[in-house]
Amino acid sequence: MSKRKSKESISTNGECISQVQKVLRERLCYHYATGKLFGIEHQYRHLLELLKRTTIHGESNSALIIGPRGSGKTALLNHVLKDLMEIKQVKENLLEVRLNGLLQTNDKVALKEITRQLRLENVVGDKVFGSFAENLAFLLEALRKGNRTSSCPVLFILDEFDLFVHHKNQTLLYNLFDISQSAQTPVTVIGLTCRRDILELFEKRVKSRFSHRQIYVLNSFDFKQYVKIFKEQLSLPADFPDETFAQKWNNNVQHLSVDKTVNDVLQSLFHYTKDLRSLHFLLMLAVSNVTVHHPLITASDLQEASKQYRMDSKANIVHGLSVLEICLIIAMKHLNDVYEGEPFNFQMVYNEFQKFIQRKAHCMYNFEKPVVMKAFEHLLQLELVKPIEKPSIEAALDDKGGLRC
């Protein structure tokens, strides 16, 4: 009887765990608007008002969202869009065009993509035909025909905005900004970028047409807030199906947030980087450890995750080398010290290695030259050693940190 009961509890537990995994992974992995926003309420309101005016009043605008990588620019935009779409008047009135600088590498491709996403009449099925010039003329004509009060507003979202700046003549940007500053179809151009010098990259005519609205997303929180974010990101929501488990889980998270080791882990990550994406990554590693038999996150889980996350890659490679290879690296390090970073070649390394063997012959087998050559080539392949860009076969030691272990 008791056996059966325990089995039952395990099975419910199993369901719970998979629920937990689902909820938390969704929150940590996607930058869709499932999570919460932290410390950017002001920016959120600014952007929301901006887009509202575009859709409801038909006012054209342009803005840039600038912030370091992983600081939540896309999350901010997605949040705003999600909240906007809840207003009925907005939902039926907004056309969205999303471009990415990494995908649309020139204006020709970008134009086709815009035309496709707007489903203009020169789209056949899923393809856009016609030359670049035709497409541009067609799109501009389409946008020129509209006016503020009657045509549907278009929202252009340009991700990796800084890459669009390098397109020839900045034709696309000029035209988008020009439309946003003239009495045509209302458009709002939102650019997302991590470059702070973006305004200096604009051509002067493009710069003049840009409205100079910049929304900065900075990670402007201190450690206390950081711990709070950690707690909130890990807590289960109130509408979690199994309430008792959620209670237990949330209590555990509360304990973790005041735990010394956990705080140390978080502190070191906070000092290293403040962006939330890193925090999410750390939590993700920790959450994946949760199983039926190990239903709650512990401090050691987090410590382990942190170790995994902040592993020194080069040192790790050195750990896996054979004795001969390590000897060669030491020889190279020696050469590097003697000749102050001058490049060296294989013969020099081999000589150095021979010297080493003669001194400590009792503990080291004297390998033949071809074998040493092979080991040297392996190091080259691992990119611990790099050939110098000269026709000669000289090489320079690339690794420094590896020698500390």
């Binding site: 009043h57 010039a133 009657s150 549907c152 403040k274």
Partner: protein, 780 residues
Amino acid sequence: MGIMNTRQQTKIIYSWYGKPTSSDRKLRTLQYKGIIIKSERTRTEKCIQLGEFVLIEGENADRPFVAQLLDLYEDGAQQKHAVVQWFSHITEIPQNKRKLLKREVSCQEVFFDQVSGYDNDIAVETIIESVLVIPLHPKEELPITLNKEKIFYVKQSWDGKCFKALSSDTFSKLKEANRKGDGVPNSLNSFVPLDISSMKEETKKVARSVMKTKNVEVEIESKHSASKSSLSKERHSQRVANGIKTPTARKKLQLNSMYMAIFCPFGFECSMFRASSFLGSLNSGNTVFLASLSKLWDYLPKTHAISVFYSLLNMIESNQKEDFLSSSDGSYSSSSEEEDSDVLCSPEKRTKASRTFSIPKSSRKPSVHTPAKTPKKTSLPGTPKTPRNATPEIPRRSHAAQKPASMLEEARLRLHVSAIPESLPCREEEFQDIYNFVESKLIDGTGGCMYISGVPGTGKTATVHEVIRCLQQAAENDDVPAFEFIEINGMKLTDPHQAYVQILELLTGQKVTATHAATLLAKLFCTPGPKRKTTVLIVDELDLLWTRKQNVMYNLFDWPTQKHSKLIILAIANTMDLPERIMMNRVASRLGLTRMSFQPYTYKQLQQIISSRLNSVKAFEEDAIQLVSRKVAALSGDARRCLDICRRATEICEFASQKNIPEIVRMAHVTEAIDEMFSSPYISAIRNASLHEQIFLKAILAEFRRAGVEEATVQQVYHQHISLCRMEGMQSPTVSDIMSICSRLGACRLLLVESSNKYLHMRVRLNISQDDVMYALKDE
């Protein structure tokens, strides 16, 4: 091919009829009473005398103009001229004026043209052929005639404003002219309906039936002169081909003439064509035979040729009747396809053609027409092109846009750059200069260029548009001659040569390739074009039309200097010395010295601009406006910036006063907006960076100080970093950490970083001054 071109050029010869009737010593002109048009190919001569009605070549070969010959003379330079009275077709009358008529107009009706702006002195070479124009009383119905192409009716006159009944004087004159003229085509009482639209089907039927039954009729009909539209098109295609040397264009010419042949249904060439295509479809063994045939064609007079061909056809028909039928169909479809791609056709025709001859592609394959001579058109079969009649349009919104509710919203709407103000303050002088320039050129009926420069946001384009708007109004009030206005923008073109395409499309609605467009435009502007309004062309962002050979710019500025171009160009760019800097001498000299530069706005002007835009809306404090103006004037003098700041300030103001208390924008709001737009983002970026990132920056500073060079490798910085960490008693980061910190700072462009494949030897530089970094880090 070259030989062929010259042959076609000399095909139509114009000569005077009779002796000069009178001469003018002073002007050194000789007047004549008629002209003979001799076509070499068809070996026909036509004499057109004064008072007769003629068709004149237009910009668009589909629509020749109708006119009456009033005078014929030869000037001192031996150029033949004609003075004409124009008639307007309904399509030449502006769309918005057509409804003044309050009735349906048949395509045969024309209007006695009394619009003043047109040049009525034309070159004789533009005359196509004679037609008949019959005056009718306003109440009279148009009589139903068969030959729709050659007879026009006139009921009313048109003077650019309204339609009037013909005065009895003109009426009788026109009547007189008709009675006198007998050079009207012999087909006046034609027994065959020559409706263009039905023509194709007609031909097709004939193609099928004729060969079997061999109607005698055909032979009679084949003596018909070609219909008017085909004639004018033929001329057009010749002109087009003459200027072009690319192989594709040549192809076009051949195919075009092929299509011509088909198009005149009972024409002679038609049967010729059929014969040759038939032969071609037989087998390759017959090619020699065919070659001799086509030679024969060149030498024999028409009637002989016909009989030869018919006997030939007779001979072969007996064994390959079926084959011929299919191949003749094939030839049809391919030629109609040709017509399809020919932009000169109106859409109705096009759709009709494609409907009637939708034959599977495979049947087109056998190269039916003139074997071994005409290369197949290169366009890939099966690639769908952009639907031609796709209308560019953004969907309409489903909810009406909200009206501004509060005063601040109203102000924001007025302050948007896109809002068109009632007047343009502070640019009165420039406005007047440009206006005077364009107006004087318009009145003189000549061409000219003007170059306008100024930094962005100083109102160049806005002023020019305002000038055009005023002139258009003046033209409506008849103060200046009517003109056509078109605009291109260098930034909105994918390639400088696309400028031609856009100009041509805006002028005539034709869509052609860039090289073709260039020749057409050159023809349009350089030949004494009959009946054309002056064109005002705005070229915005001129510097982007620069090419290595500068031929786009050269052509643009060369056309206005041509005698008959009637082209006024207003070129706009940013730099004042653009002509000297990037243009070759011959381009710069054609641009001329009519220049104007727009100075950046001063703070007083900016203030005035904002106040005039706000007009009566009291949303701003006076001081706030002044602050914005002074700030912007000191930075750039860009009016767009000024308006954007004000707009942002209204938002901030609205944001600050949540409690529904109407507030006006004060200094504080403006200051905040300015700070938001112009503050350096670097300081706050450094302050919000993580601890190790800050230490890394400190390490860079320390390394710079140590080495005395403003550049360091990551390795060197790393050493400094570790020692700094030891001083602070912190755990030092690993190499991987340092690399990622470095790349993160590089992505924000706080640092300038080399490409990362050098690992620790990567060189690093600061992107901001050292003082800024120190200032940002000190306050911590």
